[in-house]
């Protein structure tokens, strides 16, 4: 019961702040509401017993990526953008496309709910007995060792690319 109340509060917070992210005129306000969304999603991770992901979400998203966003918002001036229209010219067409996406989601979810329902957990999988962080670490460094290496190379490439794009052209 208390779990359900917590879920609905966090879900409503995430959805309302997500809508505020895309409607605020000032980009700084959008960034702050995005922080609220990310924090409520991290609360949902905690409810789903994904404690490691909760920590990663708070440290990496709320602490890292959002600070990056705020830095860039401060670097590019906002005064012009704040006075202009928030939405682009073809917003009606865009809303129509989004309604189409939402309708597809609704149809797929309706079909899935009334058609098959969710399969139960496979009988072979034992419930997790070890700690969540231990389980994630074991999976990352044993089963998913090659993907971890690829992800690290991706991060290296992204870092070098960001530096090259942001630096001044020196002849």
């Amino acid at each position: 019961m208390i779990e359900q109340v917590g879920f609905f509060i966090l879900a409503a917070l995430a959805l309302v702040s997500a809508i505020l992210v895309i409607t605020r005129r000032n980009a700084v306000h959008s960034a702050i509401w995005l922080m609220v969304t990310l924090a409520s999603v991290s609360g949902l991770y905690l409810m789903m017993h994904a404690e490691f992901l909760f920590a990663v979400q708070v440290i990496l998203y709320v602490g890292g990526i959002m600070v990056l966003f705020l830095f860039v918002i401060m670097l590019v001036n906002l005064d012009v953008a704040v006075q202009q229209s928030r939405f682009e010219r073809h917003w009606a067409l865009a809303i129509a496309a989004s309604v189409l996406v939402a309708a597809e989601f609704g149809f797929a979810l309706y079909q899935g709910y009334h058609g098959h329902g969710l399969a139960l957990a496979p009988s072979g999988s034992a419930p997790l007995t070890e700690g969540n962080t231990q389980a994630v670490g074991t999976a990352l460094y044993q089963t998913y060792m090659l993907p971890v290496e690829i992800a690290s190379i991706l991060l290296l490439v992204a870092m070098v690319g960001a530096v090259i794009m942001a630096k001044k052209n020196v002849e």
């Binding site: 997500a18 949902l44 966003f69 830095f71 996406v101 939402a102 999976a139 870092m159």
Partner: protein
């Protein structure tokens, strides 16, 4: 335990809000924020099914998605700074170098 359908509905809602943001906003930085919303919706799904199937694989995939989000934010914001230096704008309407 919350049934996984609830998480799927919430993720579908967040994804749709993100799509609306990407399609309608003019400010490129807010468009990048909407992409982050979309990636978070995907992560909610992955973690919800990870809990439902009592398997840690979904959470590992969510970590890879977060890695991608970090790389995308770094590259996107680097692009934004380069663009602002050259064109003095962050409006998606005015960035039309590849249009003819």
């Amino acid at each position: 335990m919350i049934p996984p359908e609830y998480y799927v509905y919430l993720a579908a809602g967040l994804f749709t809000v993100g799509v609306i943001g990407v399609l309608t906003r003019r400010n490129v930085i807010v468009i990048l924020m909407s992409v982050e919303l979309i990636l978070n919706a995907v992560n909610i799904n992955l973690v919800a099914f990870s809990q439902w199937f009592q398997s840690v694989n979904g959470q590992v995939f969510a970590i890879f998605v977060i890695t991608d989000a970090a790389a995308e934010a770094a590259i996107g914001l680097g692009l934004m700074i380069a663009l602002f230096r050259n064109k003095e704008t962050v409006n998606a309407d005015e960035i039309d170098l590849l249009k003819w």
